[in-house]
């Protein structure tokens, strides 16, 4: 029996420490996997480079050829994949927790579709390529999110309305993309199509830097919002009773989530389903107790880089865009989530 204050206190902190301990263990394992994939991705390719040489090269002691292949070709691609994957994962987990619905990730509710529409307009109509596409994708994601938020607003925003409005907006934007693609000439259509699938081909530091800066600012912000997000999950009234400024908090979380998705999409294209699967996998790993934001970021990074490795090397002799692999894996996962969400009549 734990009827004394000290005994109960010990029990309370034991409960807390146990779940913190499990989360820490999961984080460590995920970090090891990320490190392993990082090295693997740097060493495999058309010119295989052994692991010892990879480490030498990273330390600045490689041959000229190795340095070129690793530092200029593979490293930006891997960094881009890791950061974009982590940003997608974190963004998805934020959305899903905020809306209490595993379907509410930015790639399902139309935010990344907004980025696509803007990027395709840029490529096909204006004929622009390169950094301008990323910038317009970023702006497209933010504008779409703002539009969804405004349309879903009715004395506050509730989860289901946000998801439904988002899916509707996504469908409209999808038809705009299809229209533009059908009107485009073959060259720009092919460029746009590769972008639309989500690809890490030919990434350079030009893609990495903005993503890195965005991630370094937004990821800690997301982690600081954890407490507020947990309180919001108790329902608006309870949260307000506990002293949370519900609307401000929700808007802040949405902005952080949208910005993360926007940075990732601008750098890697709308890689499907990474944001969608990362949160649920992370929550399962940590025992579905908390929000698992940091694990979701790592899972996102792992899914992205592992998918890119598969897309490049394992399937065919010809490299595929990463989005083909994440789409092939993510779509069944979406169906499974839809089926189980319907059965339980609620979302996670």
């Amino acid at each position: 029996m734990t009827t004394t204050l000290q005994g109960t206190k010990a029990k309370v902190s034991a409960v807390r420490r146990r779940s913190a301990g499990r989360t820490l263990g999961v984080l460590l394992i995920l970090i090891l996997i990320v490190a392993g994939l990082f090295c693997l991705a740097l060493s495999t390719g058309a010119f295989p480079i052994p692991l010892s040489k990879v480490l030498d090269t990273l330390a600045g002691q490689g041959t000229r050829r190795d340095t070129f292949v690793i530092m200029d070709v593979r490293l930006p691609r891997v960094l881009c994949g890791l950061l974009a994957g982590a940003a997608f994962g974190l963004s998805g987990a934020l959305f899903q927790s905020l809306v209490h619905n595993p379907l509410a990730s930015p790639d399902v509710i139309g935010v990344t579709m907004g980025a696509s529409a803007a990027a395709v307009t840029c490529t096909v109509v204006l004929g622009v390529v390169g950094a301008a596409v990323s910038v317009s994708a970023f702006a497209g994601a933010l504008a779409t999110a703002a539009l969804i938020y405004l349309l879903a607003w009715r004395r506050g925003v509730t989860g289901y309305r946000l998801v439904l409005v988002g899916i509707g907006i996504g469908a409209v934007l999808g038809s705009i993309v299809s229209y533009l693609m059908s009107r485009a000439d073959v060259t720009s259509a092919q460029q746009a199509l590769v972008w639309l699938t989500g690809s890490l081909n030919a990434r350079s530091y030009e893609h990495v830097w903005p993503l890195l800066v965005g991630f370094v600012i937004l990821a800690p912000a997301a982690l600081l919002l954890t407490n507020g997000l947990t309180v919001l999950r108790l329902g608006d009234e309870t949260a307000r009773g506990l002293g949370a400024r519900v609307e401000t908090l929700r808007l802040t979380i949405l902005v952080v989530g949208v910005a993360l998705a926007a940075f990732a999409t601008a750098a890697a294209g709308p890689v499907p389903f990474v944001a969608f699967v990362a949160g649920p996998i992370a929550r399962r790993l940590t025992g579905e107790r908390g929000l698992a934001l940091a694990p979701a970021a790592l899972v996102g990074a792992i899914v992205m880089v592992a998918s890119d490795l598969i897309a490049q090397h394992l399937l065919t002799d010809r490299a595929l865009p990463v989005g083909v692999v994440t789409g092939a894996v993510g779509a069944p996962f979406l169906l499974w989530q839809l089926a189980s969400a319907n059965r339980e009549g609620r979302g996670g």
């Binding site: 029990k11 409960v15 807390r16 779940s19 600081l224 002293g243």
Partner: protein, 281 residues
């Protein structure tokens, strides 16, 4: 007049353009148990939400310890006044200790870490509600009565002097209703917590309340000690129900015995014990 405590001054509360409560003034006596009763849709939950600042009055003001509630920050309110909404829902898989820990939210700044004092508050809230044994359980696997006590524990961990509860006994069986109300009385007697409850059961309200607020159609009908407020006349006016009011044989507080259409006017005798088949023949 003392500035201590909570009162509403000519508040109009509603949703959109439709006022539910009009120009109502009530005073919540400090360190007492106040119960708000009234028929369905009379605005009792709305009044409670107004008192807790979940709803902003379009006219009038709610004053807490001498300050207009709507001039205080949400957090400053949460440090003095706790509210437990009707039927709150915990996220799937959340542990009891973790849920109760959420009560510490207003005590934390943006960068604050969990402290020993937080563990203290959570542990004593669990002990006070008799839920210490459940600390490691998942909230969604508890029974209705246990769950309600856990939510009360969360509100207690908030450590506020005033606690508002919206129908804390609805959907509980009679044993657990009594258990929850006894628990709340413990808190009031031991720690001097000011309690405001919305209840449906008039007899339990009369038994547990020091102060009763009776509402109908958004208006205040009566307020005062249950013995003064609960009369056959008030019950008829407010609920449209003919009744006898007799002393509760256990507590001596007023007890409402409804009459209904079938039993009215007849002397209170034992029901006929003739077997059913006698009616057929």
């Amino acid at each position: 007049m003392a500035d201590e405590g909570l009162y509403a001054e000519r508040v109009t509360l509603g949703y959109g353009d439709r006022p539910v409560v009009r120009e109502l003034s009530v005073r919540i006596p400090p360190q007492k148990i106040t119960v708000i009763v009234g028929p369905n849709a009379c605005g009792k939950s709305t009044l409670l939400r107004g008192l807790a600042r979940l709803l902003n009055p379009s006219h009038g003001q709610v004053v807490l310890d001498g300050t207009d509630l709507h001039r205080m920050s949400t957090r400053a309110v949460a440090l003095r006044l706790g509210i437990l909404p009707q039927q709150p829902v915990a996220p799937d898989g959340m542990r009891v200790a973790d849920l109760v820990g959420r009560g510490r939210y207003p005590h934390h700044g943006f960068f604050d870490r969990w402290s020993d004092g937080d563990d203290d508050a959570v542990a004593s809230a669990l002990l006070a509600t008799g839920t210490a044994e459940l600390a490691d359980r998942s909230v969604d696997e508890l029974s209705g009565g246990q769950r309600q006590r856990v939510w009360i524990a969360m509100a207690l961990a908030q450590r506020t002097g005033v606690l508002l509860l919206d129908e804390p006994t609805t959907f509980l069986d009679v044993t657990h209703q009594i258990e929850v109300l006894d628990l709340l009385t413990d808190l009031n007697r031991r720690d001097g917590v000011t309690l405001v409850l919305v209840l449906h059961d008039l007899n339990l309200a009369a038994r547990y309340a020091h102060h009763l607020i009776v509402m109908r159609d958004g208006d205040l009908v009566a307020a005062g000690a249950p013995a003064d407020v609960i009369t056959e006349r008030t019950v008829a006016d407010v609920f449209g129900l003919a009744s006898r009011v007799v002393p509760d044989p256990v507590s001596g507080t007023p007890m409402v015995v409804p009459i209904g259409r079938y039993h009215g006017g007849q002397p209170l005798i034992e029901t006929p014990s003739a077997p059913l088949r006698a009616e057929k023949g």
